[in-house]
């Protein structure tokens, strides 16, 4: 699954290992590319599902599990404050893995609603 970028021609591929980017020289920091950095962090499945969790919490979880999340992401989020939209959950879940485990989660939430009588 790829998405073309009008501005830079960079493609976002699912599963792209983030650590490869450390070797590239830093680009000029504009708000657009900061968003790009955060989006790539969201799409990298090495750090787990990005749905329903704030980026900072996801970063801290990856840090605790010794997965070496990039420092840059944390810096960007904290720079804009943890209440800003930079810390918001990644809403477009196009690339998040819809394997059977998230189907289980769908079943579980439906079942919970069923047994608690919510129609």
């Amino acid at each position: 699954m790829t998405s073309l970028d009008e501005h830079g021609g960079r493609q976002i591929r699912p599963g792209k290992i983030f650590s490869e980017d450390h070797n590239k020289p830093a680009v000029a920091v504009t708000p657009r590319s900061e968003e790009r950095v955060l989006e790539e962090f969201d799409l990298d499945y090495a750090f787990g599902p990005s749905n329903g969790i704030s980026r900072l919490m996801r970063w801290e979880r990856a840090q605790r599990l010794c997965l070496n999340p990039p420092e840059e992401v944390r810096r960007i989020i904290l720079q804009h404050g943890s209440d800003s939209k930079y810390n918001e959950r990644y809403v477009e879940s196009a690339a998040s893995s819809y394997n059977s485990l998230s189907c289980i989660s769908l079943y579980c939430s439906l079942w919970n609603r069923h047994i608690s009588g919510i129609k």
Partner: protein
């Protein structure tokens, strides 16, 4: 022949009154014991139910990955593993012999599915309740966040359940199936050194485990409960019994203190527009049951510290980890200050011995979804899998954690129990580092009228069942018979009765004064 850890001396009963009354005026002081409550990690601070359950699975896999890599290295030698442990399932190539690590998922036809119920027509009822939901068409699949592989080969699919973390040695075949040569689990966790070096004092200390008291039911045996309380408070038996009971340092009530009958009654009643406590001349069954429980606990806590765990039938939250029962429900017992309300699962250190356990929901759930019939074996498997509730959140409801999985066992307990089982079973399991764990299936008191006594000795703890039977003959408990019969009918494969009925020879029946066939 196992050594009994305790037996009353028969000469003390019905003896002639002695001239010296000191023996009867002597008071015994209950021994003190160090106690450390480690249930904090199961307490829920903020409740956020918006998140999906995928986070738990991810965290579980990543946390257990190093343990599984170590286990794989231990089992299959360093050569295969250093070269070929795949970080992602995606990296396993066709035809290459490698080691993969992932979560198991079992596709089961008979598993209750909300989608099946909704998609079929509305008037169809859900499937009838069964004891076991396994079928011969169940298929095992290993997956992680990148990919999944259906499994075939040397892996016992009927025994395994969804949510178990496994390391597999084998080859990925063309067609997407992974052919398993060998498999291993994380194994027992290592023991913390600080707990090991607790000095063993000369004094013998005991802990009593009981579960399934079933207060408030119509067929509750009041006499057994009274005997239990009298025994623990030292009002039963002779002088040596009292001396023995003074070395009982704690009572752990492992769930299901209230009978499930009350909730069934509630379903049968038509829905009233007002809450029950607002209607006159009507008291809810659960309120009566809780009052009975308060009286019971008040008697116990007058002289011994009690740990209370919630169970499936108790007025606590439904999801695991169940939060402690609120002490406002037990005003009399709370006033003594010796009642501790703890979480389910349970984790404490009593006198240097680490106790970990659950109120039985984990074992009952695995029993339904695997073909294993021996509950002790299921309990020991959860130790080998290093996870107390592997089937959560798939079939066992649990809180949607985002960044942790507190049910992974980080340290090795000395005593590992699960409550509310149909019969008493105990065993000992040893890990690869030599750590030994005493596993106990605590029987349900309302079925078997028995409790479990554990002698605290760290890694060498011993266990015995104590029965508070009230029948003068060995007449079987009709309720227990009915439950066991239902279980047998529900089991698909007739591999014999559920579990080895390993009643230790030291079983004591207190009112068997006229009984001749003592199992000495």
């Amino acid at each position: 022949m196992r050594n009994r850890i305790y037996m009353a001396e028969p000469e003390e009963f019905l003896c002639r009154p002695t001239a010296e009354d000191e023996a009867f005026r002597k008071t015994h002081t209950r021994s003190g014991c160090s106690y450390l409550n480690l249930c904090e990690r199961f307490r829920l601070r903020e409740r956020n139910y918006v998140t999906q359950y995928a986070h738990i699975y991810f965290t579980r896999l990543e946390k257990m990955r190093p343990y599984l890599e170590n286990a794989a290295a231990r089992e299959w030698g360093n050569e295969v593993c250093v070269k070929n442990v795949k970080k992602r399932l995606l990296e396993a190539e066709v035809g290459e012999r490698c080691c993969i690590i992932g979560t198991l998922f079992k596709k089961m036809e008979l598993k209750p599915s909300i989608l099946k119920e909704i998609s079929t027509s509305h008037h169809l009822l859900s499937q009838p309740p069964r004891a076991k939901l396994t079928s011969s068409s169940d298929q095992l699949v290993v997956e992680d966040s990148s990919q999944r592989f259906p499994l075939s080969g040397n892996i016992p699919s009927p025994h395994l359940v969804t949510g178990v973390l496994v390391a597999l040695l084998g080859t990925a075949m063309r067609g997407g199936v992974f052919e398993v040569e060998d498999y291993t689990f994380a194994g027992l966790p290592s023991r913390e050194e600080s707990v090991e070096t607790e000095e063993q004092e000369e004094e013998e200390r005991y802990v009593l485990l009981v579960s399934g008291l079933g207060m408030g039911s119509s067929w509750c045996d009041q006499l057994s409960l009274e005997m239990f309380v009298d025994y623990v408070t030292g009002q039963l038996g002779g002088v040596s019994d009292q001396r023995f009971c003074s070395s009982l340092v704690r009572v752990i009530v492992a769930g299901n203190s209230i009978t499930p009958e009350t909730s069934k009654n509630a379903e049968r009643q038509e829905k009233k527009p007002h809450a029950r406590f607002q209607t006159r001349n009507y008291s809810a069954d659960t309120v009566e049951a809780v009052k009975e429980m308060d009286n019971f606990l008040a008697q116990l806590t007058s002289c011994v510290p009690v740990d209370l765990m919630p169970g499936a039938n108790d007025p606590a939250n439904y999801q695991l980890p169940q939060q402690p029962l609120h002490l406002c429900m037990f005003p009399r017992a709370r006033a003594t200050g010796r009642l501790s309300s703890l979480t389910n699962p349970y984790h404490t250190v009593i006198g240097g011995t680490v106790f970990m356990g659950c109120s039985g929901q984990n074992v009952d759930d695995i029993y339904k979804f695997s073909s294993l019939t021996d509950r002790l074996e299921i309990l020991e498997n959860t130790l080998q899998w290093r996870h107390m509730l592997p089937t959560s959140p798939d079939t066992l409801n649990c809180y949607p954690y985002q960044d942790q999985d507190p049910f992974i066992m980080n340290t090795c307990p000395h005593v590992y129990f699960c409550g509310n089982q149909p019969s008493f079973q105990s065993g000992r399991i040893t890990g690869c580092d030599g750590q030994s764990v005493l596993t106990i299936c605590v029987p349900s008191f309302d079925l078997t009228h028995s409790a479990v006594l554990v002698r605290l000795r760290g890694g060498e703890s011993e266990v015995q069942e104590i029965e508070f039977g009230t029948s003068l003959s060995h007449a079987p408990n009709p309720h227990l018979e009915a439950v066991l019969k239902m279980q047998k009918e529900g089991e698909e494969k007739g591999e014999g009765d559920g579990g080895q009925e390993s009643r230790i020879e030291g079983e004591m029946t207190l009112l068997h004064l006229m009984d001749d066939d003592d199992d000495d």
